[in-house]
């Protein structure tokens, strides 16, 4: 029994049962003796919020499941040929709308292209758009929002009014208007559009959580002990304000993937020959009654991807709250 807990590290004092507590105490006393006044644990590393969060996450089945799904998606978006040997652009009209058959488990789409290959290749676009848009949104939103929350005053008023303006723009309508004039056939206009309309969400979260964190007594205490503004912002406020931003960003990543699919479905996002789930869903939707497989596979892949990111966001939120430990 004790070996099992020794590996968990010393400070698992939040044990759930009596027997477990005993085992932990034993392990503690065993390890305390050689520990000495060095201030480092058996692992030799100081603990931090992030290492503790990581320890929690490793034990959370939701995180493991969503993490594995996302890892899988990332790998096949980089190397789609690992699991799909065909060419997503090689189509045979004679086989249009045919169902599952050996070597082509998902069947063929309306143009006679292999649905399996196209679904696999579509991952790349979805993941790229999601990750790039989220990075852009998170950076822009949290920097502007964090500074607005910390310094307040004129800068805060100005940027907050700007976010109000952006909030007033309906996403789909804005997409139809702005993206319909774009002729580029890359993912950048879509990413740019999502960042443009999405940063305000992170801005508000970041601003709010910085304002909340700023009012805490420990910020005043840090100031009383001589910490500078930048130190207070980076070391005392950011770690206490970043968790909601990470959570919102992770969940938003899923919704950005769905938004890309929506825009592509409406014909203003990505355009053929780019391979994207949204494009395939759009192409398949008129045939949902005769050939549902054409719609179900890319739509299923989209749903699983969005769900995985949202579940990951949830798990990360739980792990980043030290009070839940």
């Amino acid at each position: 029994m004790p070996e099992q807990y020794e590996s968990e590290g010393v400070i698992s004092s939040a044990g759930t049962g009596g027997a477990m507590d005993l085992a932990v105490t034993e392990a503690e006393t065993l390890e305390r003796t050689p520990g000495g006044p060095e201030g480092t644990g058996p692992a030799g590393k100081p603990r931090s919020l992030w290492s503790d969060a990581w320890r929690d996450l490793r034990r959370n089945p939701v995180f493991i499941l969503s993490g594995l799904v996302i890892l899988f998606l990332v790998v096949i978006s980089i190397w789609p040929s690992l699991i799909a040997s065909g060419n997503p652009l090689k189509c045979d009209l004679a086989k249009a709308q045919e169902g599952s058959q050996p070597g082509h488990p998902f069947g063929y789409d309306g143009q006679g292209c292999d649905v399996y290959t196209r679904t696999v290749y579509g991952t790349r676009v979805s993941i790229s758009v999601g990750v790039l848009a989220t990075l852009g949104v998170a950076l822009l939103g949290s920097i502007l929002g964090g500074l607005a929350g910390f310094f307040g005053g004129g800068w805060d008023s100005l940027t907050s009014r700007i976010t109000d303006i952006f909030f007033a723009i309906p996403v789909v309508l804005g997409g139809l208007v702005l993206l319909s004039v774009v002729t580029s056939n890359t993912i950048w206009p879509v990413v740019g559009f999502i960042v443009l309309l999405g940063w305000t969400q992170v801005y508000r979260i970041a601003r709010g959580s910085v304002i909340t964190a700023k009012q805490n007594d420990y910020v005043q205490a840090a100031r009383a002990l001589g910490a500078s503004n930048s130190r207070i912002l980076l070391r005392h406020i950011t770690p206490n304000a970043v968790a909601p931003v990470i959570v919102v960003a992770t969940i938003a990543l899923g919704t950005y993937i769905a938004l890309e699919a929506t825009l592509s479905y409406l014909g203003v996002g990505l355009k053929p020959p780019t391979v994207s789930w949204g494009i395939d869903i759009s192409a398949a939707s008129p045939y949902i009654r005769n050939a549902p497989h054409m719609l179900l596979w890319p739509a299923g892949a989209l749903a699983v991807t969005v769900l995985a990111f949202i579940m990951l966001g949830d798990a990360v939120r739980d792990a980043l709250d030290p009070k839940l430990r």
Partner: protein, 329 residues
């Protein structure tokens, strides 16, 4: 003894939407090295605000220091630039806050927070700072400091957390410590332990200590002298035993009489009638006059100066026109 801190005619206002609140109206006090000054007063009397002004951590705006001098080791802190001021904070004067749980950053281990003092002010490496943190935790008698240095604030008990706050304040051996109700959030037995520890460390380092409190029991044990505040003003200041023996201000007398005593069992507890004044609208004359049992007409018109009680050059002062009558009961 060497004069460490002298606050002269300090005035602080808060400018709010509803008007100007005069939180501190000409406060004077001084602390010598190794001496303990207790600043006593009820909520809103300006005791914490004047301490924040001394530390330089007043929220500006809405707060504003509108006058006075804060002489610390001969320098006027109010004339220093912000980055010079910052070097004083933590290193030469430090503060202990009331609620250690909310005054410690919940996402940093206590070792990180203790070590930060050495990183910020002494430019130490993280590893050296951590060793220093363990040393400090030992010094404030936290058991198994080497292990617990990696724990987070919420994993400590209230008394232990307050010890950590004390350790942080003491880290760089400052000349002056301001403790803002350091034991209010603790239960009585732990209060005594924490106060003993603080007093012992103060003696060891010969620090000046400003103890802000409303707990007269704590004051009697540790303070050398007392300054009683009311409505942003010192109403009485004196060596601790003089005040307990015979208060020279009716407000102080009221405070002393409202302490529950064991031999008073069954009797109604005395309370000063009325409420502290609204700081946006302090009554003319003596601010205490509407609540004062001894008030006369002159109290409603003339602001009493700080009279020297016990004759010329006395350290004992009272801001009451009738301090003689009060002193004689």
């Amino acid at each position: 003894m060497a004069l460490l801190l002298e606050v002269r005619d300090l005035q602080v206002e808060f400018r709010t939407r509803d008007g100007v609140a005069k939180a501190v109206n000409g406060v004077n006090y001084s602390v010598d090295a190794g001496e303990t000054l207790a600043v006593l007063g009820e909520s809103g009397s300006g005791k914490s605000v004047s301490a924040q002004a001394v530390m330089g951590i007043l929220d500006v705006p809405p707060g504003k220091i509108t006058g006075g001098e804060i002489l610390f080791q001969g320098r006027d802190l109010l004339k220093l630039k912000e980055d010079e001021r910052r070097k004083v904070r933590g290193a030469e004067m430090a503060m202990i806050f009331q609620d250690a749980l909310s005054s410690l950053n919940p996402v940093l281990s206590v070792g990180d927070q203790l070590g930060e003092m050495f990183v910020v002010h002494r430019g130490m490496s993280k590893k050296d700072a951590r060793n220093k943190a363990v040393e400090l935790m030992d010094r404030v008698r936290i058991p198994a400091a080497g292990e617990r240095v990696r724990d987070y604030p919420h994993q400590f008990s209230g008394g232990m957390r307050q010890r950590i706050m004390i350790a942080m304040a003491l880290a760089l051996e400052p000349a002056l410590i301001i403790a803002d109700e350091p034991t209010t959030a603790l239960d009585v037995t732990v209060q005594a332990q924490v106060m003993d520890l603080l007093a012992e460390l103060q003696r060891e380092y010969n620090m000046g200590l400003i103890l802000i409190t409303h707990d007269l029991g704590v004051v009697a044990d540790v303070a050398d002298k007392i300054a009683v505040m009311y409505a942003g003003r010192i109403v009485e200041s004196a060596p601790v035993h003089d005040i307990y023996k015979a208060p020279a201000h009716p407000y102080t007398r009221g405070l002393l009489e409202s302490i529950p005593r064991l031999d008073q069992k069954g009797e109604e507890l005395y309370a000063i009638k009325g409420l502290p004044p609204n700081l946006m609208n302090i009554p003319p004359g003596c601010a205490f006059n509407p609540r004062c049992p001894m008030a006369q007409d002159v109290c409603r018109t003339d602001v009493p100066p700080l009279y020297e009680v016990d004759g010329q050059g006395s350290v004992r002062r009272s801001a009451c026109h009738f301090w003689r009558e009060c002193l004689n009961g």
